[in-house]
């Protein structure tokens, strides 16, 4: 390999003429490694040859205003035609024939909400076992067979479902689908693979406990749902170590049944081709029905108002606000969506404009309503620099209060902006076949009709200012909101002083003659009850109450 050739290639293209010649490649002399050498000798500072150019830019009148929009081009949503296979699998197919690719996702009820107490992580482990190989192929052979045709098969467990997906070039679909069928019907389920997986997952739990940005996800479930609810459990070394191969065989046999399962397909494939693919595979004779998902107990948010996890040396804290919210199928959904977008749903939302563009505490803050089939939640979240943790919590609380209690009600401009966005962005949500299928998949998940989007624009357009104000008052509930702070309890706090000029607004938050630490500031805030009563509760990295 000759480095001079590199220069020739780059120079020939003319895009970036090189000035200096790169150094020759290192020699391959077989010297032995020398331990702990000083770092490379400093180089003479680079001299850039490019200089500022003083250019006179034109300023024609037409530049002064945003151009008028042209006539919108009509857009037809890509069609989805559901059909049912003989064994009860309901298929949702969105065809696209511009690219020679196919992806599938076979989705079953089940998921981590069905994990027995003490075996948290079971559904996830058992599904992952499927892609450790088949009866015919061990892990290495199985991975090779997929890589040979550049296909992937992925298994997953979500909160309330579990499934198996594939992605393949159309020309390799027969080979990929054959592997997919074997993965599902005759997985290897070897003890040695389970042992290895459990040990690696136990290591992952250990690592997650040290990761400042993984901890908030670990403990927010226990806070919002309580430790006795299936959504409030935490995967631990003990729960993983208790999982056996028999547990997995039972889990998979129970939930991976075709009747009522959902197959989402997108790509270069027709209904007839899909039916033929199934008919010619071991899945043709596959029959069975899974039980109904269990009913869940009511969630109980942990007692307390501010929850804190101490992470020594954290460069940033995560500040979250959490509460339960309306369901996806609520009658006021459209007003809720507009309200939620204004609160924290985009770059231009109040949370981000405050914490990022005004205060500069964060690279980005977001929040709003989110949904699963069984619950709605309202969450706001921002990673913030350590010293601004306390002030950021106050800001999130203020934004919630101001919108909820009408101190700074939604403006006409915010309403207009979010209504326009919700309707005009619709084609973008269907821009690729994959994206379109995602939209239909979400309708299926929430039990909404597949022609839902036919009336969507109409519903959004009709939302009134009064409805959005009502939505804010009804669903943003400062009395029910709890806060989670994950950060360094010893970090010294600043507060915002709006009386000061813009570059001097951050002033030390003084407790008599010394600055408050984060832990002290939170304790004080909880005692004052400014963001609600209930006190400060310190948690460990598994969500257990320490004090």
């Amino acid at each position: 390999v000759n480095r001079l050739a590199i220069v020739a290639v780059v120079a020939a293209c003319g895009s970036k003429p090189p000035i200096t010649v790169p150094a020759p490649p290192p020699s391959s002399a077989g010297e032995t490694p020398i331990v702990t050498q000083p770092e490379p000798t400093p180089m003479p500072p680079t001299t850039q040859t490019a200089q500022p150019q003083d250019l006179a830019f034109p300023d024609e009148d037409f530049r002064a205003h945003q151009p008028a929009a042209g006539a919108p081009r009509p857009f037809r949503l890509p069609a989805v035609e559901p059909f049912t296979l003989d064994n009860g699998i309901k298929v949702y197919l969105v065809e696209q024939h511009t690219l020679p690719i196919v992806s599938m996702d076979l989705n079953f009820d089940g998921g981590s909400m069905t994990d027995p107490k003490g075996k948290d992580g079971l559904a996830s482990v058992c599904m992952a076992m499927l892609t450790e190989g088949t009866e015919k192929l061990d892990k290495i052979q199985y991975s090779g067979a997929l890589a040979d045709v550049a296909s992937s098969i992925n298994a997953y467990a979500a909160d309330d479902s579990q499934g198996l997906g594939l992605a393949s070039l159309t020309k390799h679909l027969p080979a990929t689908f054959a592997l997919f069928a074997d993965t599902l019907r005759t997985p290897g389920l070897r003890q040695s693979d389970l042992d290895r997986m459990l040990k690696r997952r136990i290591e992952s739990v250990k690592q997650a406990r040290g990761n400042p940005t993984a901890i908030p996800h670990r403990v927010s479930g226990p806070i919002l749902y309580g430790p006795n609810h299936p959504f409030g459990t935490v995967v631990t070394e003990t729960s993983l170590a208790s999982i056996t191969l028999d547990d997995c065989k039972q889990q998979l046999a129970k939930w991976l049944q075709p009747n009522h399962a959902r197959l989402f397909v997108v790509g270069d494939l027709s209904e007839a081709q899909l039916r033929a693919t199934f008919a010619a595979s071991p899945l043709a004779t596959w029959k069975g029905t899974a039980p109904k998902l269990p009913r869940l107990p009511a969630p109980h948010t942990l007692p307390g108002r501010i929850f804190f996890v101490h992470v020594p040396n954290a460069a940033q804290s995560t500040v979250m606000m959490l509460e339960h919210g309306p369901m996806r199928t609520a009658p006021d959904y459209f007003a809720n969506t507009i309200m939620s977008s204004v609160f924290g749903g985009s770059f231009t939302s109040r949370l981000n404009m405050n914490l990022r563009e005004d205060k500069g505490y964060s690279y980005g803050a977001r929040g709003g309503l989110s949904y699963s089939k069984l619950y709605g939640t309202l969450v706001a979240s921002a990673p913030v620099q350590a010293d601004a943790t306390y002030q950021a919590l106050l800001e999130i609380s203020h934004e919630l209060d101001d919108l909820a209690r009408g101190k700074r009600p939604i403006t006409k401009d915010e309403l207009e902006r979010e209504k326009l966005n919700a309707t005009l962005a619709l084609p973008g949500r269907f821009a690729t076949a994959q994206a379109a299928l995602g939209q239909y998949r979400s309708l299926v998940y929430y039990g909404l009709p597949l022609d839902y989007f036919n009336t969507y624009v109409d519903h959004v357009t009709k939302v009134t200012e009064a409805q959005v104000k009502q939505s804010a008052a009804r669903h943003l509930r400062p009395d029910r909101a709890v806060f989670l702070v994950v950060g360094d309890g010893d970090a010294k706090m600043i507060v915002d002083d709006p009386e000061q000029p813009k570059d001097k607004r951050r002033v030390p938050y003084m407790n008599h003659d010394k600055p408050y630490t984060l832990r002290e500031a939170l304790k004080d805030l909880a005692a004052r009850g400014d963001v609600g009563r209930g006190g400060l509760v310190e948690l460990d990295v598994d969500g257990n109450v320490i004090r």
Binding site: A29, P42, T46, A56, P67, G70, L99, P312, Q316, Y361
Partner: protein, 445 residues
Amino acid sequence: MRSTLAFAVALVATAGSAARADDPKLAFEKYTLPNGLEVILAPDPAVPLVAVNVWYHVGSGDEVPGRSGFAHLFEHMMFQGSKNVGADRHFEILRKLGADEVNGTTNSDRTNYYEVVPSNQLETGLWLESDRMSHLLDILDKAELDNQIDVVRNERRQRYDNVPYNKARFAMQAALYPEGHPYRYFTIGKHEDLVAASLDDVKSFYRTWYVPSNATLALVGDFDLATGKALVAKWFGTLPASKKPAVVMIPAPVVKAQTITVDDPFAKLRQITFAWHSPAQFAPGDADLDIVADALAAEGTGRLYKALIYDKPLAQSIRARQGGSQFSGDFTVTITLRSTADAAQAQQIALDEIAKLTRDQLTAPEIARVVAGQEAGAIYRLEGLNSRANVLQMYNHYLGDPDRITFDLDRYRKATAEQIRATAATYLVPAHMVTVITNPTRGGK
């Protein structure tokens, strides 16, 4: 060995010629305005959307000492407003249009800006891009710069400082690139350099690098060619002619073998990284080392995966990567160890496997898998309009021609087992290997 080689060559030749007809082909037209701005137009009426995508041919590799991170900080300033658009209006205007994928990114080589707009709003996309290409400095404001310095420092804290094992990444980079080399502090830069950035820096950087002749505009989506050309001429055609700024290629130094140990309070498992200087993006050897990386670390099939995860319970995870930038590249192998693993044993096995690649040829299936993966990747990258715009821009930036998909794939299809071995033997040598070890430490103060 001889027969393996012959087989490999034959396989590549057949697979290569058969596959070339299958290579995705993008219809586009490229031209250059008299002022030097390059334009790539790729109409596709499938959905009523257009990706508006501008690449400026400047990145953190063009920074000067003391201003690390500046190219990226400058990217943030491009969203703060320009004379005719107004301050802080970019995101709001695009939100009201229903635009998607509104963002910008910076790497060592280039900075890009993009938005996917409904096709009847193409002109607003062009208005926004032309105004920040021409009238950014008119409303430049110190308070906005101070705010974005805070924001970027928080981006660094969020994506680097607060993330396990990133101390090792910084240590590795500092070992590979000396003080004075623009790759030393990654694109994100040092906190103290970010704080030092001034309004004069912003003005000077803009006037030097953001001239029309140093940019390429790509439009991909629902417009017809004639209208696209007319609109580009309206919004960009009257911008003044400028000289194309020259890029100073800065060589990578020769590095001596060394071992660096880093204490990391967020790491709970020990990690070892081996790193070498390697070829630049698209330079000879770049594709060969992509193949080597896959042969080492792909899940299941990778040699280190098999040796350290599957056969012996030594590693938690394995990564290998050829990262080619414009001036030079780095090849890294990262092994995160199980808590019970014997580190010396794991290290020895890994180094033996790497040494084997410099002596013995890869098997034909190991190479063919990477070819298949690259061919598939070239197709998957064409799914979204903006992704397609970035593909055209990427080939245009590095190779001077947006239409280089087949050339790119041929690098893998034509790679012979002997050539790959020779490349590994040239670069992956003990004498120039940087070893970085992350030691988990207790976090208590």
